[in-house]
């Protein structure tokens, strides 16, 4: 097997991976960086983020406000030391991106403009119209092209981390173009592989969001933290799940039920605010978990509108006028017309909650380091944790910048501490075993299962039992089904047994990642017998700080269901309180 020797290997070339690579290249040009991604960097899902990135910059705002919004928004499950670091670094990272050319939208005087977002007490979301993630990703990617020390391996799918003497010492990846496996010997590895929304059938996430980075770390013994917290974004198109950004509501859009009522006022987010005059942190600017949950209740009451794709509510933007919609939400208009046949200038757009983001992920400390020496993680695949039980919109783009950089700094500190060179023989043996597993999957005959078949059952299970509201009974059933699907996964036979760009193989490997992540979600959800943030239990409707003000840790076991353990939440200054999104707080 061909060996690539490097100092730092980064898995994933989206926002977090690129930010990490640039940080290393700038700090120490002598360090060799291997940037490994299953897609070309500009295809990474960061590009699909629309609304913007939060960071305190305006004079009426304060770090304290951003801290309180984030911690309260996360239902007090965020680690407050991590949030504190995050909010302090946030404005610097956004200015840095501006210095690299990011086309942030501007005020008339040339300063950066900000917009309101859900759950935020002040306007602090930097934006580039409604393609903020796209511009962040391309700014980072294009900036990265000037650094010779960043060596890219585009369309390489990482299958295994390599361990030697209790340290992470590299990885093995398949080059899609040739089907050949490569061994990467690295003194440190950063995982920035993105989320896992594709476990669900109805998601804003692109096809590539299959939890590969999470699964890599998990199988190497690093716990997945708080996996039960899956964010539903309230406003996706019912036909495709395509995201209509929260900025629609930030700009003044409202949500209506079939009777034309702004129903959020009936779920603790009232009183109704004047049309076209959004008030921060209430009504349509409530947090995503609450808004999605309100829709679920409306659906139960029969107040949803019926579409050919199922129940929906209406997002009404008409009062914003064509000019504002074109300037601030051009993509939203384009997609509503293209994929729904509805022009938001003229008609309200049907929308429904859609799986959007994983609050949970690879357990890291505040330095983005995992419990495995030499392994670091950042971005959606990681759980550091700033998002707690519910992420506020526009915190995740900033998070991947702040902690992408932090992971890079930590990896460099780690390298300076004289990491012993990995032993060639040990790595070769591990790599050969990894290759053997892929070969076995490729060559397996007599299999009784297909990738599409197992994947469909997984998705249906997640949709039925791990959605906005969950029950112990449903979750237990889901756990049983997923354990069975993991067994059946081993009986999958590929149709395509050739080497070049084999997407049948790729999808089989991605399915393996998703099944591991899905089991971590349902087992952690079953064990958490309370309701908090995005995790709502019908059978345990209240938050239970006495027993569950703790992070869950799902620990991988190759031949059994994961063990669920817990660790403490770091609380520095904000004691758990009531999340108040009524107009009263204003």
């Amino acid at each position: 097997m061909e060996v690539v020797s490097t100092d730092v290997a980064i898995i994933g070339a989206g926002g977090a991976g690129l930010r990490a690579a640039i940080a290393i290249a700038q700090s120490d040009p002598k360090l060799r960086i291997a940037l490994i991604s299953k897609v070309y960097p500009m295809r990474s899902h960061t590009c699909a983020a629309e609304g913007g990135a939060a960071g305190v910059i305006k004079s009426d705002d304060s770090l304290e406000h951003h801290f309180n919004d984030t911690v309260g928004g996360g239902d007090w499950l965020s680690d407050q030391d991590a949030v504190d670091y995050f909010i302090r670094e946030a404005p610097k990272e956004l200015v840095q991106l501006e210095h690299w050319g990011c086309p942030w939208s501007r005020e008339d005087n040339g300063s950066v403009a900000v917009r309101p977002f859900g759950g935020m007490k002040k306007q602090r979301t930097w934006f580039a119209a409604d393609k903020s993630g796209f511009h962040i990703l391309h700014t980072l990617f294009q900036t990265s092209l000037q650094f010779e020390s960043i060596r890219r391996f585009d369309e390489f799918y990482a299958t295994d981390l390599l361990l030697d003497e209790g340290r992470c010492a590299g990885l093995v990846a398949i080059e899609m173009r040739s089907g050949q496996m490569r061994r990467f010997d690295a003194r440190a590895v950063i995982v920035a592989g993105g989320g896992a929304g594709r476990m669900f059938p109805f998601t804003t996430n692109g096809a590539i969001k299959t939890g590969d980075g999470m699964a890599l770390a998990y199988r190497a013994g690093v716990p997945l933290k708080d996996m039960e917290f899956v964010q539903y974004h309230p406003t996706g198109l019912p036909s495709t799940g395509t995201l209509l950004t929260e900025a629609c509501r930030g700009e003044g859009g409202v949500l209506l039920n079939k009777n034309g009522r702004r129903f959020l006022q009936d779920y603790g987010m009232g009183p109704e605010t004047p049309l076209g005059k959004p008030v921060l942190k209430t009504m349509e600017l409530g947090p995503r978990d609450r808004v999605s949950q309100a829709f679920w209740h409306e659906q139960k009451k029969g107040n949803a509108i019926q579409t050919q794709w199922g129940d929906a509510m209406l997002l009404d933007l008409r009062h914003l006028g064509e000019k504002t919609i074109n300037e601030r939400l051009p993509l939203v208009r384009d997609m509503s017309i293209s994929y729904m046949g509805v022009d938001p200038v003229k008609d309200p757009v049907p929308v429904r909650p859609v799986v959007h983001y994983m609050m949970g992920g690879i357990h890291t400390d505040i330095r983005a380091a995992t419990s495995l020496p030499g392994l670091f993680a950042a971005g959606e695949c990681a759980c550091v944790s700033i998002n707690g039980a519910n992420r506020l919109g526009s915190n995740s783009l900033t998070e991947l910048l702040v902690f992408g950089r932090r992971a890079a700094l930590s990896a460099m500190e780690y390298l300076h501490a004289d990491v012993p060179a990995p032993r060639d023989a040990a790595l070769a043996a591990h790599a050969a075993a990894a290759q053997g597993r892929v070969r076995e999957l490729m060559q397996r005959t007599g299999g009784t299962e297909t990738v599409a078949g197992v994947r469909k059952e997984m998705m249906q299970t997640m949709e039925a039992h791990a959605g906005i509201y969950r029950s112990g009974e449903g979750l237990a059933a889901a756990c049983a089904t997923l354990a069975d699907l993991r067994r059946r996964y081993r009986a999958i036979e590929l149709h395509d047994k050739t080497n070049v760009y084999n997407t049948d193989l790729l999808q089989a490997l991605e399915l393996g990642s998703m099944l591991d992540c899905a089991e971590a979600v349902t087992q952690s959800a079953l064990a958490r017998r309370e309701s908090r943030g995005a995790h709502q239990r019908i059978d345990f409707a209240a938050r239970d700080d006495k027993n569950y003000l703790r992070h869950s840790l799902a620990i991988y076991r190759p031949t059994a269901v994961p063990r669920v353990d817990y660790c403490d939440v770091v609380i520095t200054k904000s004691q758990p309180g009531v999340r108040d999104y009524s107009g009263a707080h204003a």
Partner: protein
């Protein structure tokens, strides 16, 4: 919910097993609102798992799913079946080598993109602690359109020059160079000129405008090319006929 049976003819090529590309016919029961990508996904899931193509976002922003649909470069996620009658032919993007089925080799574009230095070369270096550069909405507007390029390469597949002269640096790369040249914060135009104004740079463009016609993001690379040509011509005059202006 209305469905219709759509016939797709898809180019297949596996370098390990095929001596040359062939077209394979699939009949797919498609929903009214589907795009070509949905039909391909249906084939992949239910009919033929060996079909290979790239895709991810299904919202025309990741740029993965560029392909030829009835001979025209399109994003498969924005090619609505309702706009086609009869058999729909789906082939890999023109002018790029085929890696496998609908997957092309895009090394050439990746190399050209890097060569035009598509990153900010600041006019005035500033520390992060000094805050942001000021840029008015009018200054932003001067380059914003060119920053919308998703690197889908439909413009290369549409460009007649790129088909004939593969060395031509091409529409998207030049549009992105122009994007930075036009940015009020940037001072790197001279550094980019070397590539952009070279023989294989802008001068190869014969301005058919095909690139702008097919661009799914309305970037208008043809407009960028023309502006770069004009600027480059002015440079030449300044250098050769009016040297006193250079200072």
């Amino acid at each position: 919910m209305s469905e219709r049976l759509v016939e797709l003819e898809v180019l297949r090529y596996n370098p390990e097993t095929d001596s040359e590309p062939r077209l394979q016919r699939y009949s797919v029961a498609c929903r009214e609102e589907w795009v070509v990508l949905d039909a391909l996904n249906h084939i992949k899931e239910s009919i033929d798992p060996t079909l290979s193509y790239r895709w991810s976002c299904h919202m025309a922003v990741c740029g993965s799913c560029g392909m030829m649909v009835n001979g025209e470069p399109k994003l498969a996620c924005k090619a609505f079946l309702r706009n086609y009658e009869g058999v729909i032919r789906v082939e890999p993007l023109a002018h790029f080598p085929v890696e496998r089925d609908l997957v092309t080799v895009i090394d050439d574009f990746m190399d050209k993109l890097k060569r035009v230095r598509p990153y900010l070369i600041p006019k005035e270096v500033k520390a992060v602690s000094d805050g942001e550069y000021r840029q008015t909405p009018a200054e932003l507007k001067k380059f914003k359109q060119y920053s919308m390029c998703i690197n889908c390469m439909l413009c290369y597949a549409a460009c007649p020059e790129y088909g004939i002269i593969p060395k031509f640096i091409g529409p998207a790369a030049i549009a992105l160079a122009h994007r930075y040249n036009q940015d009020s914060r940037d001072g790197g135009r001279a550094a980019r000129q070397e590539e952009v104004a070279a023989t294989e740079g802008v001068w190869e463009c014969s301005f058919t405008g095909a690139c702008s016609d097919v661009c799914p993001e309305h970037v208008d690379p043809a407009g960028a090319l023309q502006q770069v040509k004009i600027r480059s011509t002015l440079d030449w005059y300044k250098e050769h006929l009016m040297p006193w202006l250079k200072a």
